[in-house]
Subunit: 718 residues, 2 copies
């Protein structure tokens, strides 16, 4: 159907509402653990409106989530009609809906084929928070009329949007059971998983202790998640949990689970295979890690974490463009993280995370070319940038204000975080360039202002932090008096911290703050300098390895991937971890014991498991652990858009394939695009590229060679 | 019980939540009609905490509205316990509660007598919207810890706070029925009322057309409220309505109603009786009008209005101090109107209404002496004042910014409202003086700043608007270019509008902006000047007549009261109206027809009923119509506090009785105070004053005479 009616709502409100539920599902040892940042609420009252002309009489069928009124051609009608017949001609509908507990939503279908009354993106919605009446009795309103929010598939009038399910479940059995005490059984589901445990024929009190590792499930006193239920027959635990192992105590005949997942389009998905089996396993486990953490929103980790974090999410988005190309999941997460105006805190309270939020718009647009979403987000981007600019230092640089969390990374070495950090300037520069791009895209005159601001921050960053002796961006202008009134010249107030870390330097490469020459200087003096402290989180390894690949060092990066992610696999990982320090694990394998005979495969032992001072505090399935998906797709298969959304302004394919074996004998794989996957096969002799079916022609570039390729065509270069 | 446990919540959130329901109950001809200003939402997640020492072991009983976690001495406990036993010693409880659809609320009772764990005002609550972790792994929070919200009587653990009822109902019968068509009956409930109609033994579709007047109930096409229900037996209409008459169409054996009201303390209430029967009826009908409009919140009118408006409410508060002294209703309304930070609009979108909100704090403190409420409101008063000061003109004067509604009054003569109105400066001056008082009370150093700002606005107001020829404050500096960039000297940008109205001039008298001499000049040249346009709303007549009484003109005001409010009575009013223009009604009585034989008393006819271009648009029960309650209590009985709450800082009674007969032969009455009512009896010869039982001694002043009076003592002056 051309305009199948959709459920519509105030844009962003469904994500705010669902995000609150999502983030509140986190538990720690059976206790609810809500996020420690601001939770917005949806607008309780919104107005939907549309003007249209009917060629003939039309009978509307109206479904609403909430209580509502119904205005036809300026006249309020009695009650809450569920059908309404309009005569032919010009009409205007205005429908106000109020709902406290769920976002006010509307669904209308006319009886005419493709009725213009059908609810879709041509309707308008406002939260209409101000009306006033002037001295002449004329009412004025300052409501801002927006395109409503909608979700693909959320269009069944019999299913209220608050009941609409994004996820699916399917039953799974454990691969191993072991009786470990009189009333206790340990189950192994074979690998990291997430879902709802079902107890069959259970009676009395049943306790469940979940473990990502065997050790955790066995440690009743310290495992991060557990459930206790009173059973009388078969029941499914209402809250999903992440686990591989479950210790079940009580009278239970059998235990299975409902695996819960976000469906994806297999035909569009990324794929990868190569001559190195370890790299293949790394890619597969990374893909599974991504699938587990991509849900209603892209979450950090599935066990105790279960929150949306902007810094984690921007990496998930980039991986997603090379794995499932699920733009809806990206949009939902970007909307949820942004929340509602007015802005009263940084995204997740973290200065850097606000910058990543801006930058995620640039990435999203680059990969999808979806200008409509940029237009939807632009007003909120602008108010968030206003907030950010209002909290700069006196000299217009990013600084952590007293209530701001300045994160950068979890580091094991001393690193001062108060003051003007060069790292944050790199993020601010890209944020301002993103705003410049978005403003230009929506035709806002602010584009020039953002460009000027970006230039200004970049010039000051170079001047203040670039050290031509060390050939590195230095760490910070430390603020010795973080609570004193701000002001004064830097030398008199701030102290230059000459520490050299990889953080600002790799961002300078990735964001183009450093030109080609300077990037080479940074490479030699920082990135490849053993005296500069190593990065120990997959989070920042993402940027580190991407920066190296950006400079063409895939051959150096491949052994790093094998050592780091291969190291996790050798330690039993079935999904990738929140943190991994190879040196800490040197003798870990020796500890592995288990009961293989019962089908239970050994799981990692401490020190893999410990973090935040808790024996099982570390998440063994963390989205930022999946970065090989991105590194391989973008820098080995080498596919990326040349123009936003892989298409030029005049409708031609605009992408490049610059595959690099980086030490592999051969590789083959698919990279998803809005027009279908691009297929690559490469060995030392030959490169074969198959273009997506949806668009052509496009240009392929490999080293000195290039070729033009038609839609669906396969081209081989030797 | 010394510390009976209360339900506690984040302060203000219950009023925000209930206020949204309250304001959304407005209907127009069966259609929901939500308010056209911003509706805030309660905080979805809040944390309650308390530290205390137990002399012995104590078992807590825990009731929660919402989902929650439970932290004891820094350790999160499993699940959602409903009892918990603590050993003797020092403890800290932290309980996070999340609830989307109702404000998160907590009730705890220990088993020990007067357990320190009992939930009451000694607990703390925070919405805790920010936590961050520094480079040393130390968590920091910027939550503001507040005294929780509580309502007297809301303390039953079996009744969730969202189910707690402030109002009561009792059955009432109609006093007249008349069959007016085959299937239609007209009922008369004898006077204006509000509640739920009950249909007895009704079958099939039943339609109800409500009327404040007979004409409205009979006019199916234009009556403001109606209901249509499908009946099958006896049913009560779920939504309350305001009416005197109901036209019922359908098969119904009998129709009664449940009268709904806010209970009040009869022993404390104000009373009045005098030698003039018309004045007695005016006082009684005004009191009934107040009782009908004082509900969960103080509403404007009960028929179609049903919203909370700050300008209407401040008058209700003042009347309330002379009628029911229901401080809880005042506090609820003040909290509801203020809503939540951050401030994004004026209260009700109206510039003047923000000022009335401030001023209501000054009045509340003056009459109640309740410093705790001022302390509760002060942070929100400060952010509202920050918002207000941020929107002043370049010269620091109140001005309607493009999105602000500047109301002043409904006027029938041309009156420009854009620019710098002298009326708004009067309100701003008193608002700043209120902030000065509040700041001093809570020990905030901003008190001096507010005093300086008030002086500055007062000086500029005198200089810009006082006209020594006309002896009046002129109307405005008109803004000819409301959308142009602001700035420049007044003569070059603004145009002095030399119109003279009563509005700024009477406020100058009431707020002490005009000194005694100037007040007399205003009296002669404005207030008593027939060339100055008359005020036609009871809303502004409130201030007009109060200003005249303030200058001792009770003898002039009494005939005004009799003419204006007596005029409404002569036109059949059983409660006082939204607007009344005596001249318009000159021949109205002649139109009265009806069917007295059937027990139906004639009701007013147009033009009483018409307003906003609708035949029954005018509300016939409007709070601002009840001002004789205030005028009589304050200026005839003449009671007012000399110190906040009728008590001096050293605990002595501090009130004055300066009764004025103003043309009455005799009068007697009660005025409520926090210590019980003060009783007055007066005629031409003798004045008898009985002090409240709760406090003494106090000083009475009558003209040149004065006396000291003990608690409960009666003193007679001749």
């Amino acid at each position: 159907m051309a305009n199948k009616p959709q459920w519509i709502w105030f844009p962003g409100d469904r994500e705010i509402w669902l995000g609150n539920q999502f983030n509140n599902r986190r538990t720690e040892r059976g206790a609810m653990f809500p996020p420690f940042w601001k939770q917005d609420s949806h607008w309780q009252t919104v107005e939907f409106s549309k003007e249209f002309t009917l060629p003939e009489s039309d009978t509307l069928h109206i479904h609403v989530e909430g209580i509502y009124n119904f205005m036809v051609d300026g006249k309020l009608q009695f009650g809450q009609p569920d059908t309404w017949t309009l005569p032919a001609g010009r009409h205007k509908l205005n429908i106000k809906v109020n709902s406290v507990s769920t976002p006010p939503s509307l669904w209308i279908e006319g009886s005419l084929a493709n009725s213009p009354a059908n609810t879709d993106g041509s309707w308008l919605v406002t939260c209409e928070d101000k009306i006033w009446i002037d001295e002449n009795g004329v009412a004025h309103g300052s409501g801002i009329y927006l395109t409503p929010g909608m979700w693909p598939g959320c269009d069944d009038p019999q299913v209220l949007p608050s009941q609409f399910q994004l996820l699916r479940t399917e039953p799974r059995n454990a691969i191993g059971h072991k009786k470990i005490a009189a009333n206790a059984t340990l189950l192994d589901f074979g690998r990291e998983t997430m879902g709802y445990v079902t107890l069959h024929d259970a009676h009395g009190e049943v306790a469940l202790y979940y473990g990502e590792s065997e050790a955790e499930a066995l440690d009743k006193e310290h495992c991060e998640t557990l459930d206790k239920v009173a059973a009388d027959g078969t029941l499914t635990i209402p809250n999903s949990k992440a686990f591989r192992y479950v210790r079940v105590e009580g009278v239970v005949a059998d235990v299975t689970m409902l695996y819960e997942y976000l469906p994806h389009d297999k035909a569009l998905s990324g794929r990868f295979e190569c001559s190195d089996d370890e790299v293949n396993r790394i890619w597969q486990v990374a893909a599974y890690t991504m699938d587990l953490t991509t849900r209603e929103f892209m979450m950090d980790g599935i066990k105790r974490d279960r929150w949306t974090w902007s810094g984690d999410a921007i990496q998930s988005y980039l991986m997603n463009y090379y794995l499932r190309f699920d733009s809806e999941a990206v949009k939902r997460t970007i909307r949820q993280l942004r929340g509602k105006d007015p802005v009263t805190a940084h995204v997740n309270t973290i200065l850097d995370y606000t910058f990543y939020w801006f930058n995620s718009l640039a990435d999203y647009y680059r990969y999808t070319g979806d200008a409509a979403f940029i237009a939807e987000m632009y007003p909120r981007a602008k108010t968030l940038m206003d907030y950010t600019l209002g909290r700069l230092s006196d000299d217009g640089l990013a600084i952590g204000q007293p209530d701001d969390w300045v994160f950068v990374d979890w580091v094991d070495f001393p690193m001062h975080k108060r003051g003007i950090l060069s790292f944050e300037q790199m993020l601010l520069i890209r944020s301002l360039r993103t705003m410049q791009m978005c403003a230009a895209l929506v035709g806002d005159t602010e584009a020039d202002r953002y460009a000027t601001l970006a230039d200004d921050v970049q010039q000051k960053t170079d001047q203040l932090f670039w050290d031509d002796t060390q050939k590195a961006y230095l760490h910070a202008l430390e603020d010795p008096l973080p609570t004193s009134p701000r002001g004064g010249d830097y030398p008199q107030r701030f102290i230059l911290n000459r520490q050299v870390t990889k953080f600002p330097n790799m961002m300078a490469i990735l964001y183009g703050v450093a030109d080609a020459d300077r990037a080479q200087e940074i490479l030699a003096n920082v990135m490849q300098n053993p005296d500069v402290p190593a990065i120990t989180t997959p989070y920042m390894r993402f940027y580190e390895l991407a920066a190296l690949c950006q400079l063409g060092l895939q051959a150096d990066v491949l052994p790093e991937i094998k050592a780091y992610w291969g190291g996790m696999l050798r330690n039993g990982a079935t999904s990738f971890w929140e943190k991994y320090v190879p040196e800490d694990e040197a003798s870990a394998n020796e500890d592995i014991t288990g009961f293989m005979a019962d089908g239970i495969v050994p799981s990692p032992k401490a020190p893999h498991l410990e973090m935040y001072g808790r024996p099982y505090g570390k998440s063994l399935c963390h989205a930022w652990g999946a970065s090989p998906i991105y590194l391989i797709g973008r820098y080995f298969l080498g596919i990326e858009p040349l123009q936003p959304g892989y298409i030029s302004a005049d409708g031609k394919a605009a992408w490049t394939a610059r595959p690099t074996l980086g030490g592999l004998a051969w590789m083959r794989g698919d990279v998803p695009t809005p027009f279908g996957p691009i297929h690559i096969e490469m060995d030392g002799q030959r490169l074969t590229v198959t273009a997506p079916k949806g668009i052509g022609p496009g240009e392929i570039r490999v080293a000195g060679k290039s070729a033009t390729i038609e839609a669906g065509q396969t081209v081989t270069l030797t």
